[in-house]
């Protein structure tokens, strides 16, 4: 492949934001018919690089050559005109438009000067069939799940005669089958001669689908490798910049002494919300990590939300510390020492206009109430403490959180809850979309908390993580709790997956 002329060459790219050097001297070359992975921790500059390539940001220095000709891409529109299409990490479509419109908007099919809806609907159905998706394309995008929305976003890019396709974490909200479909499509597109940039935190997927990879770290270019020629440990160490041993620090199985049943903290008895989660029983004990395994849409987030009072239970009883409670708002739950880190960081987590410090102290302050205002000095002290503890970058408590990378925002969210010192901490996909280093830190933190006699409810798409950290594991399927396992030596990934998939 490398003997061919590269489709795209980016050389010595520099991009600065006020106070931050997001990219310095970064290189990237793409060849037709290859899948190229962009690797790096959060904040390494992957997203920035993609945004530079797609014209969202302008570059401060460096050159971009497309098919041998230097180009200046100044807007997403120009990028598309140059054959560069992108599917972003957070679905960036218009949920108030129909599926067809989302696929075609900007390059609609016209007939006699008007939009030809019938043709577009048919075409959209065909495109989605390619992704093995059969849905009513006239319905609003918002009436479909995130996974389907992601597929629509991919279908949108398939519709253009793209030369370069950028997939920015396309798989993070897809389940196994959907990933399979996607890979099939990627292989097909590869055969057609497209250059594909693929970003993912799942190493398995990187090794399965990509040909070459570029590693970035802290905005700097580390190197370009053939996927086959670099092994996992080496890759990871390139990404995080040190030899990796911490991974093994986490005990491979539960640490809690199971002979003595720990004190119960929260007990849910036939709790359910109509249309969201069927009535379920769940007991959370102090010092225990309980995992929830289930596919997207299995009701795992809904379960977390009802335990936290974000959705109001319309059935069943809940007891905290033996006393019956009825959470009508998250506030009730927080006052009972429960914390909840939402999977939806952007819309339900961060307060974009506020600083890192203010974001961190928000929950503890809401417990204290208005009048008991933490002095600014105290706030800064707390913020600095957690910035160090969680290794948040940049380490400035007065930085606006919206200017932080996704992974660092996630750490701030964790800090917000750790500060409240909750007895039960509900973590909904805390490791999604963040790098291995941070993942490891988060899991270490969970173990430490459980040793502190805290109780943790851990939701993750990665079964391996759940198996490694949890004492007990509840499996959800179709908005229903179907099984609960003790995580003993015999339990394997296969056991869990069987329950998650069901009927096997």
């Amino acid at each position: 492949m490398p003997e061919q002329q590269p489709k795209l060459v980016m050389e010595n790219i520099v991009k600065e934001f006020p106070g931050v050097k997001a990219l310095s001297n970064v290189q990237l070359s793409l060849y037709p018919g290859e899948v190229h992975a962009l690797m790096g921790e959060n904040g390494a500059g992957k997203s920035t690089l993609i945004k530079v390539l797609t014209g969202v940001y302008s570059i401060d220095q460096g050159s971009v050559t497309l098919e041998g000709k230097p180009v200046h891409i100044n807007s997403p529109l120009e990028a598309q005109e140059n054959g560069i299409s992108t599917v972003y990490q957070e679905v960036n479509l218009c949920s108030n438009l129909s599926v067809t419109e989302n696929i075609f908007i900007g390059r609609e099919i016209k007939k006699y000067g008007r939009l030809a809806w019938k043709e577009m609907h048919q075409h959209a159905e065909k495109l989605l069939e390619k992704l093995q998706l059969k849905i009513d394309v006239t319905k609003l995008l918002s009436s479909y799940s995130v996974a389907i929305q992601q597929m629509v976003a991919i279908a949108r890019t398939l519709n253009v005669s793209a030369k370069i396709l950028i997939l920015d974490e396309p798989t993070s909200s897809l389940d196994r089958d959907e990933v399979h479909h996607l890979f099939a499509v990627i292989r097909q597109l590869k055969k057609e001669g497209l250059a594909i940039v693929f970003v993912s935190h799942f190493l398995d997927q990187i090794y399965e689908i990509t040909d070459r990879l570029t590693v970035l770290r802290n905005g700097e270019w580390i190197g370009e490798y053939k996927t086959k020629e670099i092994d996992r440990m080496e890759l990871v160490s390139k990404m995080i910049g040190k030899e990796l041993q911490q991974m093994d620090d986490i005990s491979s199985k539960s640490t809690v002494n199971q002979e003595k049943i720990p004190a119960s903290f929260l007990k849910a008895d036939e709790v359910g919300v109509k249309g969201k989660i069927d009535p379920f029983d769940l007991e959370m004990r102090k010092g225990e990590i309980v995992g929830i395994a289930g596919l997207l849409g299995s009701g795992r987030t809904e379960m977390a939300r009802v335990l936290f009072g974000a959705d109001r239970a319309d059935k069943g009883k809940m007891k905290v510390d033996g006393k019956e409670v009825n959470f009508s708002s998250p506030r009730n739950a927080i006052l009972k020492n429960i914390g909840f880190c939402s999977e939806n960081r952007k819309s339900e987590g961060i307060i974009p206009e506020l600083t890192v410090r203010e974001n961190m102290i928000l929950a503890i302050q809401s417990i204290y109430g208005w009048f008991n205002y933490l002095s600014k000095l105290k706030q800064i002290k707390i913020a600095e403490e957690y910035i160090e503890l969680l290794n948040i970058n940049p380490a400035n408590p007065e930085h606006l959180i919206k200017n932080l990378s996704g992974g660092n925002q996630q750490k701030v969210m964790l800090a917000r809850w750790l500060i409240t010192n909750p007895t039960l901490l509900i973590l909904d996909e805390p490791t999604r979309g963040i790098d291995i280093g941070a993942k490891t830190e988060i899991m270490k933190l969970m173990t430490r908390l459980s040793k502190d006699n805290k109780s943790i409810l851990f939701i993750s798409s990665e079964i391996e993580e759940i198996l490694r950290t949890c004492n007990r594991i509840a499996v959800l399927r179709n908005r229903k709790k179907v099984k609960e396992f003790y995580n003993d030596k015999e339990l394997t990934q296969q056991d869990l997956m069987k329950e998650m998939a069901g009927g096997m």
Partner: protein, 328 residues
């Protein structure tokens, strides 16, 4: 393939608005003699033709998540320009009409450009536009300028007969043509769909490579043009130019668009809904006139109460559909 008859939840507010109009009309017909006639219905169009036109422009602005407060003042400015050019400069209507239409259009372009290029908030820019347009019409003249010109008189007085002794004015025809064109623009051009997309999420629209900036400027241009056209219709209706014309009409327009089911947050709504919204405002006034004994303050309170009921109804519909969607 697609079940066209099924009730899509996004159309429910529109359906509710239409049903409410029908109900109010029947309510009036039962209560007052002489209410139930085609002419009463047609008068709603004759008396509100200008409001329909600005509501159409405003619908696009609100669909994109913006707002345009300058439309009422632009009507006054247009009427003033038309009147002074006709009466004082003695120009032919062939020159006056295009110039008048240009006034609002230019205003719209400038407002749109300020909003887009300097990232200013539409509320403030169009508020300044509102002051400016009204101020400029005072600068032309503080007095009303009566128009005495065959063309304007003809446009004002011509009645297009309809079967059954009824008639409509030429303004109604213009307004209906505008509505048809607007529906076409909204649903069958890429400009229209881009407006919806911007209203849904401006950031997404930009990342999808849509011409966000150009479209935004165009939206305000369109609204300015509609305001000018409405200003001309208003001039036909009043046969005069006056700086106090259409005072506060921007709020009537926004109320009509909201009653018509368009969300002020953008992204959802229909041009047709706004037309029904205008008709509902019209019918409230008609009922109050037929009632004939209400003091002016009761008019205001009644409109407030009705606005409240509409909003509650819309909330109920939206909440229900959200629930329904959640349970799917």
């Amino acid at each position: 393939m697609i079940n066209r008859l099924s009730l899509d939840y996004k159309q429910l507010p529109l359906l509710a608005t239409i049903s409410l109009f029908v109900l109010m009309f029947s309510f009036g017909s039962l209560r007052y003699t002489g209410f139930f006639s085609t002419q009463v219905f047609l008068n709603l169009f004759i008396d509100n033709a200008f409001l329909i036109v600005i509501a159409v422009g405003m619908t696009f602005v609100i669909l994109s998540g913006g707002i345009d407060l300058s439309v009422g003042s632009l009507i006054a400015l247009t009427s003033m320009v038309a009147a002074s050019l006709t009466m004082e400069a003695q120009l032919s209507p062939w020159i006056v009409v295009p110039i008048s239409l240009l006034v609002g259009t230019v205003f719209g372009v400038v407002q749109g450009a300020l909003i887009h290029l300097y990232n200013l908030q539409p509320f403030i820019v169009t508020l300044a536009g509102m002051f400016l347009a009204r101020g400029l019409s005072y600068v032309i003249s503080v007095e009303t300028i009566a128009i005495d010109h065959p063309f304007f008189s003809y446009m004002a007085s011509i009645q297009i007969p309809l079967p059954g002794d009824n008639f409509i004015s030429i303004s109604v025809v213009i307004a209906l043509i505008v509505v048809v064109i607007a529906i076409f623009i909204g649903h069958f051009t890429n400009f229209g769909r881009t407006v919806y997309a911007i209203g849904g999420s401006e950031q997404s629209a930009m990342l999808m490579g849509l011409p966000v900036g150009r479209t935004k400027i165009l939206i305000y241009t369109l609204s300015g043009f509609c305001a000018s056209l409405a200003g001309l219709i208003f001039t036909f209706y009043m046969l005069s130019g006056y700086g106090l014309h259409a005072n506060g009409m921007e709020l009537d327009t926004i109320a009509a668009v909201v009653i018509g089911g368009t969300l002020l947050t953008g992204g959802a709504g229909y041009v047709a809904g706004s037309v029904v919204g205008v008709l509902i405002l019209g019918i409230i006034q008609t009922i109050i006139v037929f009632e004939g004994t209400l003091s002016s303050w009761w008019t205001k309170i009644a409109i407030g109460v009705l606005l409240f009921l509409f909003i509650i109804l819309h909330r109920v519909i939206v909440l229900r559909s959200e629930k329904k969607q959640a349970s799917n």
